[in-house]
């Protein structure tokens, strides 16, 4: 691949999809530079295991507040906004959605799901095989999908099914059978969760010691290490890297229009999958391959080659722009109404994707979210307070607004809406410049340009 120079639109797309949105500083800093340098900047994340701070943060949070769901969400939102490594948080959110585990009255409790969150962050840019091993015996996951009650006499199929269907192989095409699920469930018998620590513990007496045949391969008794053999068998399937690559492309780039990953290949999915195979499931090189690819980079790619940003991505972007603090508890309620509560994905399939995020309910909640940020904007000083040009000139004068919102440019429809608003409101009794600016912010933060990138 050549060495393209980043345009403002490229930077807006890259940060908008992979880093909770660009700021004017990001746009100014990376436009005109080699595009790959911006990607490598985002990927330059030090090994999280040598940054122990997150464990302290979570333990402190739990000690101070107990299991308070709203505080926990505020903690993660703030981390997404303030981290020097936004791609790490973006991928942790991606994996939280991929291995969707939800706090539930019947278990797992919030503490377990927050510990799982640290595990996901640790592996977020690491190795997918290691992540599979960690998640298969994760305390929250064992409770969530009934692995903790799966025994030699009653092997529970719940985790085995979702591991194959949702976490590794997918169903387009489905390469496994109902028999494979039952056999995989036998492999995974014998794990329980210690109530005190939330950690998994292997109970050999509850483990099925017979041979199992999964996907044509015989797995013999391996006791507490046996699950690793299952993971190796599953990840050796040729559809596995394609499916994981598909999920990455779908979240970060666009919804690939394929109903069969072999017979209707998507070039970007295949590129990312090849990188996963070549690098023995290391995530970072595959992610780099995705982000530098022209199919990701061009924001004006053919119709549909964009994706809808999740409410959390939008909220963190807005918070960066107006410098809002998530210490303020006013953002979690509209996010909840927009359909996204961190640590509470709706089911094991995770949150909606793409068009599934767009509805009248979510549009209303996103409007309220934008309004909440607009109020903060009025309290935080000079950001986004540039004087508005006369309505007829907003297109010419709107450049600073577009940049301030971290966007590359605006579509005519959005510009038309801004003009309409300024025209009808300016000069009415009580219409201050500050109110007009607030209104323009809300319109931009609810526009299709902002929502779909």
């Amino acid at each position: 691949m050549s060495d393209p120079i980043a345009s403002r639109a490229h930077v807006a797309r890259l940060f908008g999809r992979a880093a909770f949105g660009a700021t004017a500083t990001d746009l100014d800093g990376w436009a005109g530079k080699p595009y790959a340098a911006a990607v490598d900047h985002l990927l330059a994340v030090p090994d999280p295991t040598i940054r122990p701070v997150q464990t302290d943060e979570v333990n402190f949070l739990l000690a101070q507040n107990g299991a308070n769901a709203q505080v926990a969400q505020q903690w993660w939102l703030a981390r997404m906004k303030n981290t020097p490594y936004p791609l790490e948080e973006r991928m942790t959110l991606f994996w939280h959605d991929h291995w969707a585990t939800s706090v539930h009255p019947e278990g797992p409790p919030l503490e377990y799901v927050m510990r799982q969150n640290q595990t996901l962050r640790k592996h977020s840019l690491g190795n997918f095989r290691a992540m599979c091993q960690a998640m298969t015996i994760d305390g929250a996951m064992l409770q969530w999908l009934d692995g903790d009650v799966s025994t030699v006499n009653n092997p529970n199929e719940n985790y085995a099914r979702e591991f194959l269907e949702l976490f590794t192989l997918g169903t387009f095409p489905q390469v496994y059978t109902e028999h494979d699920i039952r056999e995989a469930a036998r492999v995974l018998t014998g794990w329980v969760v210690d109530p005190g620590t939330g950690q998994a513990r292997f109970v050999t007496g509850q483990h099925d010691k017979g041979d199992k045949v999964v996907l044509g391969t015989t797995i013999t008794n391996g006791e507490a290490e046996e699950y690793k053999a299952l993971i190796d068998v599953v990840l050796a399937q040729s559809v596995a890297p394609k499916f994981v690559a598909y999920k990455m492309v779908q979240s970060l780039a666009y919804a690939p229009s394929t109903l069969n990953l072999f017979t209707q290949p998507d070039p970007l999915v295949d590129d990312v999958a090849a990188a996963l195979v070549k690098n023995n499931w290391e995530i970072k090189p595959a992610l780099r391959r995705l982000l530098v690819n022209d199919r990701f980079r061009f924001p004006d790619a053919p119709a549909g080659k964009q994706s809808v940003r999740q409410p959390v991505e939008i909220a963190v972007h807005a918070a960066k722009i107006v410098n809002a603090s998530f210490d303020d508890n006013s953002y979690v309620p509209p996010l909840t109404r927009a359909g996204q509560q961190l640590f509470y994905p709706p089911n094991v399939g995770g949150w909606p994707v793409g068009k599934g995020w767009i509805s009248t309910t979510t549009a209303l909640a996103r409007y309220d979210l934008a309004y909440t940020f607009a109020i903060v904007r009025q309290n935080v000083g000079p950001l986004l307070r540039a004087p508005l040009p006369p309505s007829t000139d907003i297109e010419a004068g709107g450049g600073q607004w577009i940049a301030a919102m971290g966007l590359g440019y605006l579509r005519p429809t959005t510009l038309g809406a801004l003009k309409s608003y300024v025209r009808s409101r300016r000069g009415q009794p009580g219409a201050t410049e500050d109110e007009l600016q607030s209104g323009v912010f809300i319109l931009l933060a609810t526009s299709p340009d902002w929502e779909v990138m």
Binding site: E106, D146, V149, S150, N154, P155, N156, E157, N158, R161, E165, L166, T171, L259, A303, G304, Q306, V308, P334, R337, A338, G339, P346, N347, P352, G354, K355, G356, I358, S359, T360, T361, T362, A363, L364, A365, Y367, D368, Y371, T372, R411, T413, T414, A417, L418, S420, Y421, S424, R425, Q428, A431, E435, G439, I442, L443, S447, P448, D449, E451, V452
Partner: protein, 427 residues
């Protein structure tokens, strides 16, 4: 698609007629929901039959919903049931017998968590369709949900079975013809071209209210709907903003519904207020989760089924404890509830729960003496014998024949994708 838009009510209210119009919008005394509609009633739409779909998310266990109480129909189904469900199976004394004329021979009963539905059954208001499934059954929640919502087995679904009805009806952007109460706009209401709307509850309002400052902004937001079709996702996002502005206009003065501890009741009562309004609302969708009972099944399923039972009862017949009056006779005569779930569960229990299975029963609840024929429909699935118990239930009814019966006989709009409707379900 562009095209001119009708004048919105907000614009109407800011005009000279506003003062004259306001008194008709409040107060909301008398029958809940009456007279808050923005437009005059249209006899062509207010006379429509109404369909409310309740989706039981997770895969409801059919065998503990419609329960065998004896070996019948020349089978050993009760013997097998007790044999393979030694701890979670119900004793005949614990369940609510289905005893309409002709039922005795089948020896079936309803879960003890369904007392209201059982009462309605005895009143001739409930049809139980047994053994419903589709070809090439999937045990996946997600494939199952998509198949049940699309009514398109064995292919990649491209639309909901009621979404295609909306296509054929040619509903407009934001039109209140099909409403999902909740966060998601489900596949069932997504057509190939048209779609329903969803809302979290009523009344609807923007956080900044609808005074002048908001009006200017909301009118501008409405323009997002004009986004170019060359970018379909952005166009769709813009249309949903436009729809939202319209919905808030229509529903900002809707009466607040009673809030109970039962989320399904809350959703159904919200739906009832909208159904009693004059919007031409025809289809409603509500979803409840909690049926994926891999472990500790009995209390979990009873809790979830009980929630649905209480809600259907409140929807039709009221719930005095929560100040909910019965539905008007007028609406009751035109309203039918239908339940469905992505699959039933395995015949045998597994550690106090059940894994994903196949065919399951669904309920249709409508007016007594109307088109819906009450009682048992379709055969109870075969549980095998005590020597060879079934692992999964063989289906007896194709879901598409049920959908076609509802489309043809209740909504009067059969789907050309489908063959014949299930015989005998409607008179």
């Amino acid at each position: 698609m562009g095209g001119s838009r009708g004048i919105t009510r907000r614009r109407f209210l800011t005009g000279s007629a506003a003062l004259a119009a306001l008194p008709t919008l409040a107060p909301f005394t008398g029958r809940i929901g009456q007279a808050f509609a923005a437009t005059a009633p249209d006899p062509a739409t207010t006379g429509r039959n109404r369909l409310v779909v309740i989706f039981l998310g997770g895969g409801n266990d059919g065998l503990n919903t419609v329960v065998p109480t004896d070996d019948a129909d020349g089978t050993q189904r009760y013997s097998v049931y007790r044999q393979v469900r030694p701890t979670i199976g119900y004793a005949p004394s614990a369940v609510l017998p289905l005893d309409r004329p002709g039922d005795a021979a089948h020896a079936l009963a309803l879960s003890p968590a369904l007392p209201r539905l059982h009462g309605m059954y005895q009143e001739g208001r409930v049809a139980v369709v047994q053994g419903v499934d589709y070809p090439s059954h999937s045990f996946s929640h997600f494939v199952g949900m998509d198949t049940w919502q699309s009514g398109q087995p064995e292919v990649a679904p491209d639309s909901g079975w009621l979404g295609r009805h909306l296509d054929r009806a040619g509903v407009g952007v934001g039109e209140l013809r099909a409403v999902a109460v909740g966060y998601e706009l489900p596949l069932i209401f997504r057509g190939r071209e048209k779609q329903g709307v969803n809302l979290p509850g009523i009344p609807l309002s923007f956080a900044d209210g609808t005074q002048a400052i908001g009006d200017a902004r909301h009118d501008a937001a409405e323009l997002f709907g004009l986004h170019s079709s060359a970018e379909p996702l952005r166009q769709f996002a813009g249309q949903m903003v436009e729809s939202t502005v319209d919905l808030v206009e229509a529903l900002e003065n809707a009466p607040a519904t009673p809030t109970t501890v039962n989320p399904v009741t809350n959703a159904l009562i919200t739906a009832r207020v909208l159904l009693e309004g004059q919007f031409g609302l025809e289809c409603v969708y509500v979803r409840i989760d909690g049926f994926d009972t891999h472990a500790t099944q009995v209390p979990l399923q009873e809790q979830a089924l009980g929630t649905v039972d209480q809600a259907i009862g409140a929807f039709f017949d009221g719930d005095a404890a929560n100040g909910i009056a019965p539905m008007s006779a007028d609406l009751k005569a035109r309203t039918m509830v239908m339940t469905c779930s992505e699959f039933g569960r395995r015949v045998g229990e597994n550690g106090g729960g059940t894994d994903h299975g196949t065919a399951s029963p669904l309920f249709l609840v409508g007016p007594a003496g109307g088109a819906l024929v009450p009682g048992l429909h379709g055969d109870h699935p075969d549980l095998g014998t005590t020597l060879a118990p079934a692992d999964n239930l063989p289906p007896t009814t194709d879901l598409r024949s049920v959908y076609q019966a509802v489309l043809q006989n209740w909504l009067h709009d059969p789907d050309p994708l489908y063959g014949a409707p299930m015989p005998g379900l409607f008179a």
